[in-house]
């Protein structure tokens, strides 16, 4: 009886320990994401363009753009 009771307590504590560890793991996983702000990126992810690339023209008159111009004439 006594042994079973102790076993139940141990089981319950085990569950709480697992819950605590899980919470800590989840917090650790979330922390880097929360640290990412919209105005900075982790150094590993940064891939800067060269001076020539960054001022290069991006605009192209694609079918998509031509459709925009056409529908704006209505």
């Amino acid at each position: 009886m006594n042994g079973r009771k102790d076993g139940g307590v141990a089981e319950r504590r085990g569950f709480l320990r697992a819950l605590g560890l899980g919470t800590a793991a989840a917090a650790a996983a979330v922390a880097p994401a929360a640290a990412q702000r919209s105005d900075s990126v982790p150094a590993g992810q940064a891939r800067k363009e060269s001076a020539a690339e960054r001022v290069a023209a991006r605009y192209r008159e694609t079918d998509h753009v031509r459709a925009f111009y056409r529908t704006n004439r209505y």
Binding site: S38, V41, K48, R54, V55, A56, R58, Y59, F68, R73
Partner: protein, 198 residues
């Protein structure tokens, strides 16, 4: 070379703010920042006009002129962009811009503003095109995808025009001729002190 411009037809804008919402959603713009805003003059009175405003990508951009760290640059398409890794959040560009385009994400302890954020003409920034880093810092890069800014593309009344300045000016001129009355270009009389003859 095409010169990218925005042009808002004040006769058509119905102040629905869909351009504002679309911009915020497309670029996951941080809390407290609106890269685009709808301004209404004479609200509720005869002659009420609304106009959608964002960075005008000035030819001689005052924000770039006052920046102490030279974080601004102009692309070959005449889009004014900035490098958030260089920005020190001093706020000079905010004071210099006549349109209130530069915004700051935070007002924290000791007045920390964070890095400046503004309309990128959906052209991203100095990170590689359509990379995750570019999206995190500047939002999506629709221009590199062969598209135009989302605010203009989804405008329900076609009030907001974007694209090659020559083409959208022609579209606007056709509209004015069809209407049969003055250009209605917002700010025209302020700038030129006369009614334009079209």
């Amino acid at each position: 070379m095409a010169r990218m411009k925005f042009l808002c037809d004040a006769e058509r804008c119905i102040e629905c703010n869909a351009c504002v919402t679309a911009c915020k959603n497309e670029h996951q713009v941080p809390w407290g920042i609106n890269r685009r805003r709808v301004v209404t003059l004479n609200d509720g009175r005869p002659g009420e006009r609304s106009i959608s405003m964002a960075c005008m990508h000035c030819t001689d951009a005052p924000c770039a002129a006052v920046c102490p760290v030279a974080c601004f640059y102009t692309t070959a398409d005449h889009v004014v962009l900035h490098d958030k890794d260089l920005c020190i959040g001093c706020g000079y560009c905010f004071y210099a811009c006549p349109f209130g385009a530069p915004q700051y994400p935070r007002v924290g302890n000791f007045g920390g503003r964070g890095k400046m954020d503004k309309c990128t003409y959906c052209a991203g920034g100095p990170q590689q095109d359509n990379s995750h880093a570019e999206y995190l810092q500047y939002g999506s890069n629709r221009l590199a995808e062969g598209k135009l800014p989302l605010c203009a593309e989804m405008c329900s009344t076609k009030a907001l025009l974007a694209g090659d300045g020559e083409i959208i000016a022609t579209i606007y001129r056709e509209r004015v001729q069809q209407r049969g009355y003055g250009s209605g270009a917002w700010g025209w009389r302020t700038a030129y002190k006369e009614v334009p003859q079209v």
